[in-house]
Symmetry: C2
């Protein structure tokens, strides 16, 4: 089957829709980011790509810390809102009725309604062009107790928001479990 070439495109599937938090001039602000992913296991680190002019980025540079908040399905409107409105013109946390709390890092604002919250310290910034790529060391993880199963975070209870780019820019929920990881592939191993 011949493939169709589309030129360079930012098309990884799936992508998250996370809420990145920072105190800007001492006040909590949040922006939505799909350009993020885990970068390192030990120590735990992640990346977030943020446009240089973003209001949230100003706060990140002020404190060199930020948060990554994983929204749940019922927050899809708030997640979208934080991606289309700038904190320079609105108190987004108030509009979205977010309950903001602080953890270990003290000035990385966290959203109580989001089932997973990561507190991060900036360890690298790369200027890649349109975006600054932040590498953050994950310093603490907060999870809503009702999203834990036997003490571990449970994706089916978290119900994350998945960003789908392409033909229709929209948010999806998590679907059915397909197979167990580090297991289902073993059946392909050659015998003997």
């Amino acid at each position: 089957m011949k493939k169709t070439t589309l030129g360079p495109q930012t098309l990884i599937y799936p992508m998250p829709a996370c809420l990145i938090g920072a105190d800007v001039d001492g006040k909590a602000n949040f922006m939505t980011a799909a350009w993020c992913g885990i970068a390192n296991s030990n120590p735990p680190m992640l990346t977030v790509g943020i446009q240089h002019h973003r209001y949230t980025y100003r706060g990140i540079k002020q404190n060199m810390v930020f948060s990554v908040n994983v929204p749940t399905e019922s927050l899809v409107d708030q997640t979208d809102y934080c991606g289309i409105v700038s904190g320079s013109s609105d108190d987004k946390a108030a509009t979205c009725k977010f309950t903001v709390f602080y953890g270990h890092l003290q000035n990385a604002p966290l959203i109580e309604q989001c089932p997973v919250n990561l507190e991060c310290k900036v360890v690298h910034i790369l200027n890649l062009g349109s975006h600054a790529l932040l590498v953050g060391a994950i310093e603490e993880t907060h999870v809503s107790p009702d999203c834990l199963t036997d003490g571990a975070p449970d994706a089916r209870k978290i119900k994350p928001v998945i960003y789908g780019s392409g033909a229709e820019k929209c948010y999806f929920g998590l679907g059915e479990m397909l197979a167990p990881a580090f297991s289902t592939g073993k059946q392909l191993k050659k015998k003997g």
Copy 2:
């Protein structure tokens, strides 16, 4: 609601399960990676975190190019297999019956059965500890024609594999559409 703290954890939801391709000593090899994400829009770039000892990484350093292949649900066993077996002991492309092709970069192997393939040139390598973080410039995108709608990639046709870490390490499918992006949040905007 009081949150439970878990210490530093690599918990972004959702995470992809991509197949990273490289020619190692001239032969196509693929490994599974959940530690990846988009980094920059213009020019399009992505990140992949890879453990230093990985066989695939050897090939990436040889050619300074790699591919990111987005598997579809029916490839979940192959996707898992490429994460649990090393190319040093098996011809994974043969075992998985992948049809390998090459595009613009000539030595970044692509998997025809994967609906989306990105060809990448390494532009940065950061040693973060357990993993090397590769920043790749996306040079070309290949999409299976049957996964396009009006010429654009369609997540519902691509049916990507979603990696879920935590209580159960498993793969999920894409769920229902929740809401349109850059739109559903507008209803939260203050009137007047």
